[in-house]
């Protein structure tokens, strides 16, 4: 497995995020957005062929579809129907792992996809709404992808609206334990994290090339648990890059992170 030397940050994030799914076994991998979808697809093509996937519309596929317009005559590898009503049968069974990009993520891992600022009755900014986040978060493992790691996303205090349950003892439902909640990886443009620190504190797992732990802490509105040794995020291999390119022939990944930076950034390039 030859490590690539020339890759974009988006491609690094796809490869890093794909690791979230590698030990999942036979579950539905749902990546919402270009990078999470490519990450789930890459995992299905490499480390975990048992993953299940939809076409983002109404069918299950035994092979992930490439993104965007496909050539005439393309035949998707359909294996079963999976309309939106059946998705809930899957979600509530727990056999799913979703990777999503909420607008806010607080220190408990609670996330917000809905009302921002102002009051709930009259928010300053109304986003999508709670969507399926409440059900996802209490039913199955979830990971997050954040294309711009900053203190507006990883904000001080509690989310303006809590769309998904996190490790907040004050909101823990009766009869549940914090260990019932399963937030996996948090992949950003700076690093990879999880909530595996003391008392489910957010924890730095790896730093993207050229990024320091200080930069991560400065860009996060609450304390990050930083272990003594933090490795560099593993670069994608040539084989992974070839699969990513085949899955994303129109290079939609280039538009996902501001200015589409290279995977290896010179120190202080952005800070």
């Amino acid at each position: 497995m030859t490590a690539a030397t020339d890759y974009t940050l988006a491609e690094l994030c796809v490869a890093a995020a794909s690791r979230a799914f590698e030990n999942d076994g036979e579950v539905l991998a749902t990546g919402i957005g270009v990078i999470p979808r490519l990450a789930a697809s890459l995992a299905m093509k490499t480390t975990n062929p048992d993953l299940m996937m939809t076409d983002s519309e109404a069918w299950m596929l035994s092979e992930p579809n490439p993104l965007g317009k496909r050539p005439d005559g393309f035949v998707p590898a359909t294996e079963s129907w999976m309309g939106f009503s059946r998705i809930f049968d899957n979600v509530w069974s727990g056999k799913r792992h979703a990777m999503l990009g909420p607008t806010q993520i607080d220190r408990f891992g609670q996330s917000n996809t809905s009302a921002l600022g102002g009051t709930y009755d009259k928010p300053k900014v109304m986003m999508l709404g709670a969507r399926g986040f409440p059900g996802n978060s209490i039913s199955h493992p979830n990971s997050f992808f954040v294309p711009s790691h900053n203190t507006r996303v990883f904000m001080d205090g509690e989310c303006d609206f809590v769309s998904s349950i996190g490790y907040n003892p004050d909101r823990l439902p009766k009869g549940h334990s914090l260990d019932d909640i399963d937030i996996r990886l948090v992949v950003t443009d700076l690093c990879v994290m999880d909530f595996g620190g003391p008392d489910h504190q957010i924890r730095l797992l790896s730093l993207h090339p050229g990024i320091t732990a200080e930069q991560v802490q400065k860009s996060t509105g609450y304390p990050v648990h930083i272990p003594g040794h933090v490795p560099t995020t593993v670069p994608p291999t040539q084989a992974q890059l070839a699969i990513i390119t085949a899955l994303d022939p129109h290079n939609q990944r280039a538009g996902q992170i501001k200015d589409n930076p290279p995977g290896v950034r010179p120190p202080a390039d952005r800070y």
Partner: protein, 291 residues
């Protein structure tokens, strides 16, 4: 039995303050011709239950809405519905914000005559804190607490389908019927617009009958309107109208707002509307989206 009727006759059965369920999902297979007929009426103070798109946005923008029951309101490729956003940010509507699956549970409870459905969805989130009408209860069978998702009883559901016969047998040939069966069953009356009216013998083919998701007793009226989902999609017939949605979203940024949009497109009836958007052939030529 002949359930055929006009869009105007459907709206004549609606009253101020009613709770309306609207089928479809975001920009997909919405009963937009029926929504437009509501826009032409003086109905007001409606409560909407919807996997929302421009149906919710247009009705909010024209002051017809008191309350929206929603999990999202989105045009998909334009993530934030511009007029729903304005309505929320101006504080002009009440909301019941729930999870996508909770909405299905509420509709099922209504259709099955249950007061609520137990679920763990919503626990630990602001869904239960921001909705006084959603209670958390103890279980008689374990030591956990559960959300009691209340029945979402609908006065009327509005749905758009591919094909229907005059007796109200409705077919959805597109890849997903979404929650439309649950909407049809949860309502006192369900009015269905269809792209094509077919003879009942069409359903004698079991492969066609397999694409019927509720029995005809759940259909009150059938409104044949070819292209009636525009600007939303009606797969496999036509996709959603991207330039039209862009113009709609852009209108929200202009001083004339929704009035400018309505003056340009709405017309006095569906024929005038379709003429203003290029005609039925143009609607039928809209390419299906690639996901």
């Amino acid at each position: 039995m002949d359930k055929r009727m006009s869009a105007a006759a459907v709206v004549a059965q609606l009253e101020d303050g009613m709770t309306l369920g609207i089928g479809g999902w975001g920009p997909r297979r919405k009963p937009m011709a029926l929504v437009r007929e509501i826009l032409r009426s003086d109905l007001k103070a409606l409560t909407l239950v919807s996997y929302g798109g421009a149906d919710v946005g247009m009705l909010c923008a024209t002051g017809k809405v008191k309350k929206v029951v929603f999990a999202f309101v989105s045009l998909d490729f334009i993530p934030l519905e511009p007029y729903f956003r304005q309505a929320r940010q101006s504080g002009s509507i009440e909301v019941m914000e729930i999870d996508e699956g909770m909405m299905l549970l509420g509709l099922r409870a209504a259709s099955w005559g249950l007061p609520f459905m137990p679920t763990e969805v919503g626990l630990g989130t602001d869904i239960i804190n921001r909705n006084a009408s959603i209670k958390v209860i103890d279980s008689p069978y374990d030591d956990k607490e559960w959300v009691a998702m209340p029945a979402l009883k609908l006065d009327v559901s509005l749905i758009h389908v591919d094909k229907a016969d005059a007796r109200g047998v409705c077919q959805i040939a597109g890849p997903d019927h979404y929650m439309d069966d649950a909407f049809a069953r949860a309502a006192e009356k369900t009015f269905v617009s269809c792209d094509e009216l077919v003879d009942s013998t069409y359903f004698h083919d079991p492969a066609q009958a397999r694409l019927v998701y509720w029995e005809r007793s759940a259909t009150t009226g059938v409104v044949p309107i070819a292209g009636g989902a525009h600007p939303t999609s009606c797969a496999p017939r036509y996709g959603f109208d991207v330039p039209h949605f862009k113009a709609y979203a852009a209108s929200a940024k202009q001083d004339s707002g929704i009035q400018g949009y309505l003056e340009q497109f709405l017309g006095a009836n569906e024929d005038e509307y379709q003429h203003s958007v290029g005609g039925l052939d143009a609607i039928r030529a809209i390419e299906l989206p690639t996901y």
